[in-house]
């Protein structure tokens, strides 16, 4: 589904070239849980940003279903991220003025938008995906906190809201960048299990420095100094 071909990402650090990713090649298959493992600063997050189109490779290319991301306009890449990709970041970013339920709905189309862009929408009252969002949050144990504001939620609860946001609407790929980094081990494992259990038929790409979080991964690649060190 996503192919990374000889992709490099080079930063300019005061005139010095720094390779965040160096000639990486890998493929993400439909429905696959791909783990990206590596120490801090190894380039694993940069690889994730390349795969989802948030960064453009300095050389090489990244293709989604055969179409290179660099051939897409900025708007097309944004639309791809909005409709097909879900994101869980290291920090549980939520919009402070929206409730848990509203935060989950951010990024999903309204009925009007669905109609306009021809996106199929099985729901017709209010936001197209509102019932699904409620169901998802309830399934994640937040059924009684749908209308709580972010400041009323714990770190783990916030991260679960972020997971619900990433999963809602049946995204093709969920990208998770160190989603357990700020959680204790028990909560971290719970988050990974939630992601795995709720991703449906979608793929999951998870970046972490903790190998125990990738026990359920279909495949794990290890990154070191921006290079692919191993694939298991």
């Amino acid at each position: 589904m996503i192919e990374v071909r000889n992709a490099s990402l080079v930063y300019d650090d005061h005139g010095r070239q720094v390779f965040a990713c160096h000639d990486l090649t890998l493929e993400l298959k439909d429905g696959e849980f791909l783990g990206i493992l590596g120490p801090s600063g190894s380039g694993k997050s940069s690889l994730l940003y390349l795969m989802c189109g948030l960064k453009t490779p300095t050389s090489g290319e990244v293709a989604y279903r055969g179409r290179t991301l660099s051939s897409m306009s900025e708007d097309e890449r944004a639309e791809l991220r909005l409709r097909q990709f879900g994101f869980v970041f290291q920090y549980p970013y939520l919009l402070g003025y929206l409730s848990a339920l509203e935060n989950v709905l951010v990024g999903t189309p309204t009925n009007g938008e669905a109609k306009k862009s021809g996106i199929s929408s099985p729901w017709t009252n209010g936001w197209a995906t509102e019932p699904a969002a409620r169901e998802l949050l309830t399934g994640l144990g937040l059924g009684d906190k749908l209308h709580r504001m972010p400041f009323e939620l714990s770190g783990g609860e916030k991260q679960r809201v972020c997971i619900a946001r990433a999963l809602l609407g049946g995204r093709e790929v969920v990208f998770a960048d160190e989603p357990t980094a700020n959680l204790d081990h028990v909560n971290g494992v719970a988050v990974v299990e939630t992601l795995v259990a709720n991703r449906g038929s979608g793929s999951l790409v998870m970046v972490t420095h903790d190998p125990t979080m990738l026990e359920k991964a279909d495949r794990v690649v290890t990154i070191s100094d921006g290079r692919l060190a191993a694939s298991l």
Binding site: L54, F85, L95, V106, G126
Partner: protein, 380 residues
Amino acid sequence: MRNPLAPTVFLLRNTSKTLPLIGVIVLAVMLIGGIVAIMDSIPLSIRTTYGYSKAYLGVSPRGNMAMTPILRHIVKTESPVPLGRVMTCRVSDCEVKSIVGPWRFAVIGLSQDDMSYYLDRLGGCTITGRLPLPGKAEALLSEPVARNLGKKLGDVFLGPTDSNNYSPNEVRVVGIAHMKPWVALAPIEYLEKYHFPPIDLLIVTAKDIRQQDKLDHWAYERLGGEMARTYTYFRLEIETADMFKILYTILNVVIALLVVVITLMMAMLMNIYQSQRLQEFGLLQALGYARKRLMRRVLSETALVVAGGWILGVVSAFLLMTVVKVLLMDPRAFMLDPFDRQAYLYSVPVPIAIFLAATWTIALRFRRFDPVGVVERRLV
């Protein structure tokens, strides 16, 4: 459920940020509207106080008192429009108050018959009291003049001890005419006997009041200059406009400076508020909201704040001016128009300039914005 990213959702749930912005715009619009309305009240006062000249043409001879009959003859024989009446009058003056100080105001001496015609010509009215009797030291004031001077029936209007409103005898108010035009009338016989200059003036009316302006223009050309001085409404308009040209130029500069200061202040405030939302913008952009879409959203919010602030400002300015008019101006018959469109039009550059400045600030911010920096916590 409402779209969580609708502009109104952010604005209504972040009133601590929204209200100060709206407040500044409201105050700016009130300030500008108030200044312009007060400024406009001066020419408005001139037009109102001396608005009686709309209804007739005044002619006074220059240098030679014997010219009056000749002027009368010329008017009667050469007038381009049918005439209503050519009245002989004497004129003295008194002092009325305005927001910029005292102004001289004509006390017109007419025969009783001409007084009735004169009042009818100005639109007609009911009179509390009566018309001044021929030759008596009496006066009739219209209601705005009486209010301006604080006079009521029986009060002394002109007198020997009042150097600004002088007459050798006490001239008392015997009638108050309930009409909008400012009028002060006295018997012609009394002015002839006790007041200088001993010159007969003419008051000339066109038969059809709609032709008065044509008559005025003709008289200004035909009689003006060495022969006579004419008093016409169109000249009052021209002279008032000339008088205020420089003042309005200064006003424009002051308002332009105000707009610049307010816009810079608002742009700074908005910049601060946008900086506080970097995390939100970064997150949304990372999730897939294109820059254009985010810009559109932020600009919609800005447009709502700016338009809302302006509308509230106009309403507040209107209410403020109405209060000022009722409490401060009306009791002294001073002019202030809360419906002064020019006052509100002058405030239109405020929202436009703020919106443009905000657009520029937001565009700059989004141009170099890296959402990865935000989600990795490098920028926040």
